[in-house]
Symmetry: C2
Subunit: 151 residues, 2 copies
DNA sequence: GTTGTTGCAAACGTTTTGCAACGAC
DNA sequence: GTCGTTGCAAAACGTTTGCAACAAC
């Protein structure tokens, strides 16, 4: 089932309406892939519909989040990022130097949830994991910079 | 080395000053244990020094964070929480029903950092991990509530 | 006395909301 | 036509900042 038809069906079912703005925003989220923030989605949307308002972006993102179509994250920053929910759970690896974000999964995460939940008697439903570090490109750039100045 | 003497020494070393406000805020963080937000720390501090200002709380928390005395986290909420940095890295398990926070560690986290860093060629320096779920008490309460209404 | 720090008020960036006009059904 | 949705402006929220008075050194 595509996100667009899921959206239409879920809205219909709860007496809500499928508007052009909602269709556009979902489409942009699909095209972009991932990790957009509200401001950037707003900017993209305005290229296609200049009258669209930032509060509509926020209201729509909240709706899509509540419908389970979109995941809301905080990648170590002071505002949210949004991405279309994919079937597979995944986590984020953030380069603190250039800000790039890579997704990853690992069977170790399931093991961790299982082990910690059992030990502390919690039923664990979700995990937010952000690993922070330096990507290969930034490490190389930092190495070159050090060579030029000091050494 | 106690946090108070670490504070004094580090301030001295960088030409900064040890003020009553800074001593008080650090002391409250010590006494409370963990996971205070700025508002709550402000409230506690005002009981002892009613003239103390919220911006001083923020400035001091930022300073203590930069000095490495305090860790700043976002436990799935829209504002920061702060806790005295302990020697051991740890992560958080949050009950989504009652909001209680439990700390945990697990050797699986080191394994995860190692495995993901190697696979994607990142040098991983830190991990933020929040596991979300339901604690035993809230599960029991939810069970009782379900019994009374339906079923 | 010098200069880093504070309290205060005002600003900031992100997100939410009240409300009348609008548009999907 | 009904009623959910939008655009707009204004507010809310946590947090930061400019500045003159203050206090640690």
């Amino acid at each position: 089932m595509s996100p667009q038809s899921h959206l239409r069906d879920t809205l219909r079912g709860s007496g809500r309406r499928l508007t052009g703005q909602r269709r556009l925003l979902l489409e942009l989220l699909q095209q972009h892939g991932g990790h957009l923030d509200a401001r950037e989605l707003y900017r993209l949307a305005q290229e296609r519909d200049p009258r669209l308002n930032l509060s509509t972006v926020y209201r729509t993102l909240g709706l899509l989040r509540d419908l389970g179509l979109v995941d809301e994250q905080r990648l170590g920053e002071d505002h949210h990022h949004y991405e279309l929910r994919t079937s597979a759970a995944h986590y984020h690896l953030v380069c603190q130097s250039c800000g790039s974000v890579v997704e990853f999964t690992s069977p170790l995460v399931e093991q961790l949830k299982e082990a910690v939940g059992r030990e502390l008697d919690y039923t664990i439903t979700a995990a937010q994991i952000d690993l922070l570090g330096a990507c290969a490109a930034c490490r190389a750039a930092a190495g070159r910079a050090a060579e030029e100045t000091g050494d």
